[in-house]
Symmetry: C2
């Protein structure tokens, strides 16, 4: 089955979604539905070599802009490319969807059209970060700027299920992002979330600080979407900063050309691990659907990666299994 | 005049504050008051070579622990080392003070003993981060986990005054840390703070995201202490992670020993720029006093650096000048 792609999402549309789709079709042999303004999509397609049999355009007449309010997107944009992506998925005409558009609207439309798994109020963005031993899952990486303690707890349950079921990490270690490790740190919500986590069957290791993120001591970092987004982007910025400074140092140093070349390749590898434009999309957890959110600045490579991720989620039955596995937790969540 | 040092502050007390003080005395020729448990301080001093004429012990009987609530510290610890540091400064017996202890208690005691400059509700921690062109001031880097829009605006004014007066940056560019650059992003407080900043005479450049932190496009990042602390520690963790990964790569690569040595020295330089243990302390802005807060994990080098910073603040008349310069802004702040 095909993946629906919001061709009108992101900072460079329809170009980047179209080029990303063409790439995913060519390199991964996937089928795609390009949802959006038919003539604009055709114009972009005409510039590429593409496999016509695997690409179908689904014409829509409206676009949710990056600045648009969620309420307006829900009420007045019934034929937006974003909404139609969700409708196609709900109707079983697409196995999943990808958008680099307005993420607030994406969450709200997802919730409205697809519904949530039981016990979960709102979807969260899950991001995988590298660590010195394995990886760290960040929930929420930016979906919900204001969350209650109960919602923080819900993200922890989603993170637990996601890693244990799809990454085969048994009993993932869960940390609550805070400004100190002692119990009682942080604001009211953090303190309440701490209590909920402590009383739950999850493997809760307590409060963690940013400095413990990458040491391999935890598997899931739980936080609200505001702090999660700040964390993710600060880490990306720090990685980018270090790469730039190193490149400067290489230019100004006596180190051999060979050393510089080696250095550059490992620098780029590192940046790639943290950089959204290449890193390319994250599943929304908690939704009854396989939806991948990409950064607005995603390049075609990132979109193609996101399409691959949506296909993986569909094959792995992400939404279906999350919906089933959450069952024993529902009484704790409500 | 001497600097008062909270000898009972931080994770390794009185050792690290005492060793830091001895180092500051030796290397910078400063006079210090070591405030805390007399016999414990003497025991540490006895292990070092130190210039007795420049070091005086001020005995106190109580300690504010790292876990202690702010209310308890204020009410029941009238003879704590931390409080006595502030009292010595208020009485003009110390030109400034340094503590690596409980930062919540430090802020509350500072506010209670020294008072605030007009129009400012609470002190904020100012941290200087490197950028690709110059530097970036982060306010608040961790003092106030919950702040109102008005308080965010106050931090912006403090940051503006600090950079324009003490770093000679005319009209510092001020950005509000947010989860998107468009107006209207973020929670209610962020949106209100945006309005206050936009209507003010400050050089407000709008919302900024973490990814724009280090590019030299802004001089001041305004945020609440929760997000600020997450940002600071995530950046430090990312820098540390990259240093560790590079060291691994160097060990596993064919690059020459010479290249590796060069690499290591530039890596350490970079980590130093962002790492608190060497980076060593930040001034509290908004307080009518010269107070430097150090991280609990500060090593003696970091404490010595903090003592130097307190001396710089005293010489530059930080508190006095901030108190005077804020005058034209007071009507906007209240």
């Amino acid at each position: 089955m095909a993946i629906a792609i919001d061709a009108m999402g992101g900072d460079v549309f329809p170009r980047n979604p179209v080029l990303g789709a063409v790439k995913a079709v060519r390199e991964k042999g996937l089928d795609v539905l390009l949802v959006g303004d038919e003539s604009a999509i055709k114009k972009e397609l005409d510039r590429c070599d593409y496999e016509a049999a695997r690409i179908e355009i689904v014409p829509t007449t409206q676009v949710v802009s990056m600045e648009e309010s969620v309420a307006a997107a829900l009420r007045t944009k019934k034929d937006s490319s974003l909404r139609v992506c969700f409708e196609l998925h709900r109707q079983g005409l697409a196995e999943g969807l990808v958008s680099a558009g307005n993420s607030g609207a994406m969450l709200a439309l997802g919730r409205y059209v697809m519904k949530m798994v039981p016990g979960i109020d709102r979807p969260c963005i899950s991001a995988i970060l590298p660590s010195l031993q394995g990886k760290v899952l960040l929930v929420d990486a930016g979906a919900n700027t204001d969350c209650s303690a109960q919602q923080l707890f819900q993200f922890a349950v989603l993170g637990h299920l996601y890693l244990s079921e799809f990454y085969e990490i048994s009993s993932p270690r869960i940390g609550l992002l805070n400004v100190g490790t002692e119990e009682g740190k942080g604001d009211e919500r953090r303190r309440k979330a701490y209590e909920l986590l402590k009383a739950s069957p999850l493997n809760f290791v307590g409060n963690i600080e940013g400095e413990n993120l990458f040491q391999g001591r935890i598997d899931v970092v739980v936080t609200d979407g505001f702090a999660g987004n700040i964390l993710l982007k600060s880490v990306q910025a720090a990685a980018q900063y270090m790469v730039t400074i190193f490149e400067r140092e290489v230019r100004n140093s006596l180190v051999s050309q060979l050393g510089a070349l080696w250095l550059r390749s490992s620098l780029l590898k590192l940046r790639k691990q943290t950089h959204y434009a290449e890193f390319g999309g994250a599943p929304l957890l908690g939704l009854k659907g396989n939806a991948i959110v990409c950064h607005g600045k995603s390049n075609p490579d990132a979109i193609a990666f996101g399409i691959g991720l949506a296909h993986w989620a569909a094959q792995a039955k992400l939404a279906e299994r999350m919906n089933r596995m959450i069952d024993p937790y529902v009484k704790l969540l409500i």
